[in-house]
């Protein structure tokens, strides 16, 4: 949910200057309903008197949306300020359209896998796809979800203010759209929640031309299918795009700065992922190298040149010649232009806004800035849409005077490759480090999709799940899954982790047979729980 860059002075609508309360402008103006205007006026009159709003959420991505909904539910008068598209990155340029591409590409991959279909007794011929139609599916989906979000806010009476926000000091904030005099204004609020999100991070030396050298923003439009794409970065974004591209017939080369691909994942899971998602496909990789210089090409005429430099020795090692280069090196916070100085706040070196565990914004000295919160990618704590939403709810709870801290270790994450990868909590490596530091023993259990009846019925038995837990308290430290529908399966584990359930309790839960959920059931049942003397026993109910 990026806002625009710093606003040049004098762009505000004259009628808004000093006017209080300003007429909140809705876009398109024609959609403004008289009934709502009336209701807002009414609510505004009762609300606090002192401020226009109780809570103003800056940025309406998934995080801002979640915060706004929860604020309204708590009876707070709420507005969201959005300078671009409702739904932000996730809905418009991220998770949502990429899922559309992955769904289509995954089908193509499945239908082209004749051997697999044959083993199920199916034969298919002449599988073809229409690139533009797949691209349209993605953009239509984004449009649908965007509409859903907007209607859900409007339906609950959240004001949607169009423009980029700028702190004016005190409780005042201005919003405006560059080049528009009819939109914008100044408002006051008791509490602000910054939820401005992030933009693709592009390392220096890489010029983005949007055609042959591009970020996920452009790639999601699927304007063309290069025969050979280099993907810089092998995290979630890179992996998902590699999945899409290879399914549609492109070849992929990963360029990874770390010494192995998928560096952020649990080591064992990364190994399996490599075997399932990389090795059998038209993918190769260069690790331990940086793409220090990228020269855009011309599709079909001149290849893109990518100069690779050794990460450690800083020596030039190779030059790639590919048709396109997708830069997927992570995301950078979008926090410029907020005029944070007006509320005595400074971003860190990378642009993230420092926050307390309660999502309160911290000033230069590290003390809490009252009434200003920051959630989502802008604070950099856990750059995922659903984490932002959870942080938003947490911030609103704190605004309402009910101290709340989100346990980030219970926030699940998923990579929607085929098969999917998901996890919650720590990697085995991190858990072992913690165990060493704190002097406890780590328990480990693993199951395979190969032993699951449902997975075998689907003939999709590749993959595994593992759980890492404390041997002394039987608390879950982390759960990792790679396999069919892993992204959906993880929630049993993440919920258990959030609720503080221990593995000995989870053993007694019942799972439908045959389902993939038994992969987790098996996992819990395999945990050695006898170490806990006071293990809870099931209570017989007669």
């Amino acid at each position: 949910m990026p806002i625009a860059s710093p606003l040049p002075g004098g762009r505000f609508a004259p009628r808004a200057l000093g006017a209080r309360p300003p007429p909140p402008a809705l876009l398109p103006p024609g959609r403004r309903s008289i009934r709502r205007e009336a209701r807002r006026a009414c609510v505004g009159a009762i609300a606090l008197g002192k401020h226009d709003y109780d809570v103003v959420v800056i940025g309406c991505g998934v995080g801002g949306h979640g915060a706004a909904l929860h604020a309204v539910e708590q009876g707070l008068k709420t507005a969201v300020v959005e300078g671009h598209d409702i739904g932000g990155t996730c809905v418009n340029r991220g998770c949502v359209p990429s899922k559309a591409l992955l769904a289509a590409a995954g089908r193509v991959r499945e239908l082209k896998n004749e051997m697999h279909l044959k083993s199920l007794g199916i034969s298919v011929e002449g599988v073809a796809y229409d690139r533009q139609a797949i691209a349209d599916h993605a953009s239509n989906l984004a449009g649908t979800i965007q509409g859903n979000l907007q209607r859900s806010l409007e339906g609950l009476g959240v004001d949607i203010l169009r423009g980029s926000a700028r702190f004016m000091g005190g409780n005042r904030m201005r919003y405006a759209l560059p080049g528009r005099v009819d939109v914008g204004g100044e408002i006051t609020a008791r509490d602000f929640i910054i939820a401005t999100g992030s933009v693709p991070f592009v390392p220096p030396g890489i010029p983005i031309d949007g055609k042959t050298v591009f970020t996920s923003d452009h790639a999601l439009k699927l304007e063309w299918l290069p025969d050979w794409v280099a993907i810089i970065g092998s995290g979630y974004i890179g992996l998902e795009f590699a999945d899409v591209y290879t399914a549609l017939g492109s070849e992929v080369t990963f360029v990874e700065a770390m010494d192995k691909i998928m560096p952020g994942f649990d080591g064992e899971i990364a190994k399996v992922a490599k075997r399932l998602l990389i090795d059998p496909r038209s993918i190769d990789s260069h690790t331990g190298v940086l793409a220090t210089k990228v020269t855009p090409g011309v599709p079909g005429v001149k290849p893109v040149e990518i100069e690779l430099t050794d990460f450690h020795t800083k020596e030039k090692v190779d030059t790639l010649e590919v048709d396109a280069c997708l830069v997927a090196t992570g995301r950078a916070p979008y926090t410029q232009g907020l005029n944070l100085g007006a509320v005595n706040v400074e971003t860190d070196r990378r642009g993230f806004i420092p926050v307390s565990p309660k999502m309160e914004v911290l000033d230069r000295e590290g003390s809490v800035v009252p009434h200003v919160y920051c959630i989502g990618d802008a604070n950099g704590k856990f750059m995922l849409a659903h984490a932002a939403s959870a942080q938003g709810i947490s911030a609103v709870e704190n605004i309402c005077g009910r101290p709340h801290q989100l346990n980030h270790l219970s926030v699940p994450a998923a990579c929607f490759t085929h098969p999917e990868i998901s996890f919650v909590g720590m990697t085995q490596e991190a858990a072992e480090e913690k165990a060493k530091a704190e002097g406890f023993k780590v328990g480990l259990a693993k199951t395979s999709f190969k032993a699951n009846s449902k997975a075998l019925a689907e003939k999709e038995a590749d993959g595994m799940a593992k759980i890492i837990y404390r041997m002394d308290t039987l608390e879950i430290l982390g759960v990792h899954i790679i396999g069919l529908h892993a992204a959906d399966l993880i929630h049993e584990a993440s919920n258990a982790l959030a609720m503080g359930n221990t593995v000995d309790q989870l053993k007694f839960n019942v799972h439908t047979h045959p389902t993939l959920s038994e992969v987790l059931d098996e996992l819990f049942k395999q945990c050695k729980t006898d170490v806990k003397a006071n293990a809870k026993q099931p209570v017989l109910v007669s």
Binding site: W228, E251, T253, S282, I283, S448, K450, M464, E522, Q526
Partner: protein
């Protein structure tokens, strides 16, 4: 991957072999039950690694990945391989300490339960035994060898590392099926780089195609999967017919037997060739011309037996540093030549003068995949150190197979070396390349019963070197003196590392 067997449990069927982690059964291989005091008896230190039974229903297993590579040190209980059974993927642990001598079943390969999938040597020194075993014991079930097997050699041939000039690094003809005929109309790259797409690379590895000889048809000479496929099908149909790129104008031809035994027999079925006549390639034509020219030169030959035990030992210690046997031999010649300027001189074209050359440049004959022959030159072998020479050599061989040598890199030789040691030949005659005074043919090194000066009998490894010289320039005594110097160097090879 499951480390412990007890994690294998699946609903309704606990398929456990025991509580302990799976260990590979190590079976000692006693080849000579009553060993005599000879060097052969170390073999009981080589253990087989069997495909384990990971579940009661498992009959065969697939190697998912090797966690260790050949040559890696292994601790007992350490996971060395991931095996996929019918239920799960599991890390399998070693039952022995030692070194992973050789992998018999590569990644992706399938083996029946109980079959050998690798050999572990207890001592590093026994690695070659393990390798040798792998050569003999490889089961049939394996789709893709990680490395190309050595070229067809006589069944009696020693394992490659054993004999001195048998070195793998010697100019052996490359693996059987590389594509000799570049795709027509391809845009060749001028910078000598090989740009191949990920799938093309995978395919080339699978089909054992050398990308250096595949011409790319993609943008800017890029090699695509289709090019690799085309190269293999071309290779099967027309091994020599398609004209390659214009070959270097006049490569000074070297050892005679090499061109006489070009690899088409290996890459095509013999029946396809029978009864047909194929035009020679440009390179073959120029070799033929050079051979005819050599008839104008009065040649004579001198041969000598040289003991190679010390050279072999030196080679074994230097091998980890990338030193090859070929470069050791070239270096030996270089050092010897420095004392015999006549041996790297040449007769003037009018036959009335001797040109003493400035540089000791040793050309080494390399058989080309499509039947030609080229002689990449190791320059200044007398003064260049062995490590630099070895690096240069690897580069030269790679580029010569890709036909990317600059003229200076194949026609600046002042002395020629032809090595057929890897085929186990006893001795052979080389034909003198036009414009030089001597060529040395090196045969295989083999254990021989030798009577020593103090009247004892022992077994030493010896090879026969046979030098062909231009009698207008070099006389018998001078040739013999040179061989004496060379023998001295090879039998006390410490000098070579200086």
């Amino acid at each position: 991957m499951m480390k412990a067997a007890n994690s294998l449990a699946s609903r309704g069927s606990k398929l456990l072999a025991g509580e302990t982690p799976f260990r590979l059964n190590g079976g000692a291989l006693h080849q000579s039950p009553a060993p005599r005091r000879r060097r052969l008896e170390v073999q009981d230190a080589v253990k087989e690694v069997f495909m384990p039974a990971l579940s009661s229903t498992m009959t065969e297993g697939k190697i998912v990945s090797w966690l260790k590579s050949e040559g890696d040190e292994i601790k007992k209980g350490e996971a060395i391989v991931v095996v996929e059974s019918d239920k799960a993927d599991m890390d399998v642990e070693s039952f022995n300490d030692g070194f992973l001598g050789s992998i018999v079943v590569p990644e992706g390969g399938v083996a029946n339960v109980g079959e050998a999938i690798a050999f572990i040597a207890e001592q590093e020194a026994e690695m070659k035994e393990a390798k040798a075993k792998a050569g003999g014991a490889a089961p049939a079930a394996k789709p893709a060898e990680a490395e190309a097997p050595p070229p067809p050699s006589p069944p009696t041939a020693k394992p490659e590392e054993n004999a001195a000039p048998d070195a793998k690094s010697a100019p052996a003809p490359p693996p059987p099926a590389p594509a000799p005929a570049p795709v027509a109309a391809a845009v060749a790259r001028t910078d000598g780089r090989i740009i191949a797409t990920p799938y093309a690379k995978k395919l080339a590895k699978q089909l054992k195609v050398d990308l250096a000889v595949v011409a790319g048809s993609g943008p800017a000479g890029r090699i695509t999967a289709a090019d690799v496929q085309a190269a293999t099908s071309n290779g099967a149909k027309a091994p020599v017919a398609a004209p390659a790129k214009p070959a270097p104008s006049a490569p000074p031809a070297g050892g005679s037997p090499a061109p006489a035994a070009p690899p088409p027999a290996a890459s095509t079925t013999v029946s396809e060739l029978r009864g047909t006549t194929e035009p020679m390639s440009t390179m073959q034509l120029s070799v033929a011309q050079n051979m005819v020219n050599s008839l104008q030169v009065p040649e004579f030959r001198v041969s000598m037996k040289i003991t190679t035990d010390d050279l072999d030992a030196l080679y074994q210690t230097l091998k980890p540093h990338g030193v090859t046997m070929t470069t050791l031999l070239a270096k030996a010649c270089g050092v010897a030549l420095a004392q015999h300027p006549l041996l790297f001189s040449s007769c003037t074209p009018d036959g009335k003068g001797i040109t003493y050359n400035e540089h000791v440049n040793v050309a080494v004959a390399v058989a080309m995949p499509d039947g030609g022959l080229i002689t990449p030159v190791l320059k200044d072998c007398d003064t260049t150190d062995i490590y630099t020479l070895s690096r240069d050599w690897r580069d030269l061989v790679k580029r010569s197979r890709a036909k990317k040598l600059a003229p200076d890199e194949y026609n600046s030789g002042t002395f020629t070396l032809s090595n057929l040691g890897m085929f186990g030949v006893e001795s052979f005659d080389a034909i003198l390349p036009f414009g030089s005074s001597a060529i040395l043919g090196i045969a295989g090194s083999q254990p021989c019963v030798v009577a020593t000066e103090d009247g004892m009998i022992c077994v030493k490894k010896q090879m026969t070197v046979n030098m062909t010289c231009d009698h207008r320039v070099v006389y018998g005594a001078q040739a013999a003196e040179f061989l004496q110097t060379l023998k001295g160097i090879i039998e006390s090879p410490e000098l070579l590392t200086l």
